[in-house]
């Protein structure tokens, strides 16, 4: 009985980790450039393109305003198109990523905007190109904030992946609903919650330590 529970927990944990980190990686890879776009094309940015800025901002707002559970359902055709199926852990990575790209983009945008304008001016004054400014000023100077923001995104993803269980994604959330809620196996529910708490604490701790190490202030 116990070994069965442990086995279930282990499988579900792996699925949760797969969803969280895969979607997290995609959010970072696409969300950060989106954040850079939002900051640099702004009226006060280093490459003002107000129409592009407005469109990007609208898209981000639109996706962010839809509750995740609804986004999951709306995105079923898209998920099917890309993954071939709308069911399972891998398929869930697609809606999770789409929801989290704009989420992380907004968080990263805040950190990028906090970079002192004087630093941008200093590098402009030495003849730096816009790319140099992004590469040597914006991103490195905002790095601790970008990292903390990524930690927040990962923790949010753990929660969102539980909801993805609703479309058969598996994972810890799914386990808790199937055993704990539908079959009244309270001990499974408690075990899942404990694992989730431990997981979130671990990610937060690692993120904080890394951010502290990278911050030269």
């Amino acid at each position: 009985m116990l070994s069965l529970l442990l086995d279930l927990l282990w499988q579900s944990l792996l699925q949760t980790l797969e969803m969280t980190f895969a979607a997290g990686a995609v959010s970072l890879l696409l969300g950060l450039p989106l954040a850079v776009l939002l900051v640099t094309t702004d009226r006060q940015g280093i490459r003002p393109i107000p129409p592009l800025n407005l469109v990007a901002s609208w898209i981000v707002n639109a996706v962010r305003s839809v509750p995740f559970i609804i986004l999951l359902i709306i995105l079923i055709p898209v998920t099917r198109l890309i993954a071939g199926t709308s069911l399972g852990t891998e398929a869930a990575i697609i809606p999770l990523s789409i929801a989290c790209i704009p989420y992380y983009a907004r968080i990263a945008e805040v950190s990028l905007r906090e970079v002192d304008r004087g630093l941008i001016d200093a590098v402009r004054a030495m003849g730096g190109s816009r790319w140099t400014i992004i590469r040597h000023v914006l991103v490195p100077e905002a790095l601790p904030g970008l990292l903390s923001g990524f930690t927040v995104t990962l923790v949010t993803l753990i929660g969102a992946s539980a909801m993805a269980g609703a479309i058969g994604a598996g994972g810890l959330g799914d386990l808790a609903i199937r055993y704990g809620y539908q079959r009244f196996e309270t001990n499974v529910m408690i075990a899942v919650v404990i694992v989730l708490i431990a997981l979130v604490c671990l990610i937060q701790w690692l993120g904080d330590r890394l951010a502290a190490r990278l911050g030269h202030r």
Partner: protein, 348 residues
């Protein structure tokens, strides 16, 4: 004729919001020269210096750096010009995620230097500013003075022809300020770098600048050599900016001053001197020519970049018969400026 100026500014104007931040600014600067820009807070000094490197656009006029007119250049074309211009900031503006050496290296990276030469140059520059041992430190591990030294090394990295300093020493204590000024002076002498410095501190101007521009409400109130400006300021702004740096009539003497002569009084002159006329037999000649007794009531001379500059407050006793107008024109011919302040009892 002489070589073309390194920097030539013709009639530039800049509006910020509803505020005319710069209005019809013209001046030029020869290679190797040091120009100080002073003015009250909000006069437009920072705006002006930002225009010189194209960080701020102008609404009209022209700016020519080393023969290149920059006001019409695109942001990309400006990048090449800016590699010839170094800039130092009040708050240093060092990249916190880079070490001292990496900060200094960035302009070289931008200029496309190969790795080996970059590293040699960085070591050379850190030695020049006296930070040979601090290469691997991050800005937060350095003192204000050390940060500014990194800032100077960074500004000089790509051997610019022009160095712009916006309040380079305002965040530093007096002792550190002195050492940074000595460093800048040394750099100007050894490397012949042309400099434009903005400052609130007149002592900085006095010890470093050769030419001075006084800005007031976006316009040039006056400009001249540092000795001229310190010796005989003409505008009210300059007078008020230089308060404390020029001899002033002590309060008790100023209070005793009367506009008209009275029994036993003597006319009191303020005589502004600079250079040649500050060292000579002026008072003796005055006594000889007009048969008066010059009484020195107050005054002082100081050294401004090797030029003696100062003011004397002289009352002329026994001047009863002497023509004040003739005395005044005699003094005007022998000084930077002379002013009849009023009449006092000379022995008082």
């Amino acid at each position: 004729m002489s070589a073309p100026p390194l920097l030539d500014v013709r009639g530039i104007a800049r509006r910020l919001g509803s505020h005319q931040a710069l209005d019809d600014i013209s001046f030029s600067l020869a290679s190797g020269d040091i120009l100080g820009i002073i003015g009250r807070s909000g006069a437009g000094k920072s705006t002006l210096i930002r225009c010189l490197s194209g960080l701020e656009r102008v609404d009209g006029g022209s700016i020519t750096v080393e023969g290149t007119e920059i006001t019409a250049l695109s942001e990309t074309a400006l990048q090449t010009v800016r590699q010839r211009i170094g800039m130092i900031f009040q708050h240093f503006n060092l990249l916190s995620a880079k070490t001292a050496a990496e900060n200094v290296m960035l302009p070289l990276l931008i200029a496309g230097w190969p790795k080996r030469r970059r590293e040699e140059r960085v070591a050379e520059l850190l030695d020049l500013v006296g930070l040979g041992g601090q290469a691997k430190r991050y800005p937060h591990q350095l003192s204000g003075g050390q940060k500014q030294r990194v800032g100077i090394a960074r500004a000089l990295a790509a051997s610019p022809a022009l160095l712009l300093c916006d309040e380079a020493t305002s965040a530093l204590d007096p002792e550190t300020t002195t050492s940074i000024l000595a460093l800048l002076d040394d750099i100007n002498r050894r490397l012949g770098v042309t400099m434009v410095l903005i400052t609130h501190e007149m002592s900085v101007i006095r010890s470093l600048a050769r030419k001075v521009i006084v800005l007031d409400h976006g316009r040039i109130a006056e400009q001249g050599s540092v000795a001229e400006i310190f010796g005989a300021p003409r505008s009210d702004v300059t007078h008020s900016l230089l308060r404390g740096f020029r001899p002033e009539l002590p309060d008790h003497l100023a209070a005793a001053l009367r506009p008209e002569p009275f029994p036993g009084s003597a006319p009191l002159f303020r005589i502004d001197l600079a250079g040649e006329n500050a060292r000579g037999t002026l008072l003796f000649d005055l006594a000889q020519s007009f048969r008066v007794r010059p009484v020195l009531l107050h005054g002082g001379l100081q050294d401004v970049r090797g030029v003696a500059v100062g003011s004397l407050f002289v009352a002329l006793a026994d001047a009863g018969a002497a023509p004040v107008d003739a005395i005044l024109s005699f003094l005007l011919g022998r000084s930077q400026a002379t002013e009849l302040l009023g009449h006092v009892v000379p022995s008082a």
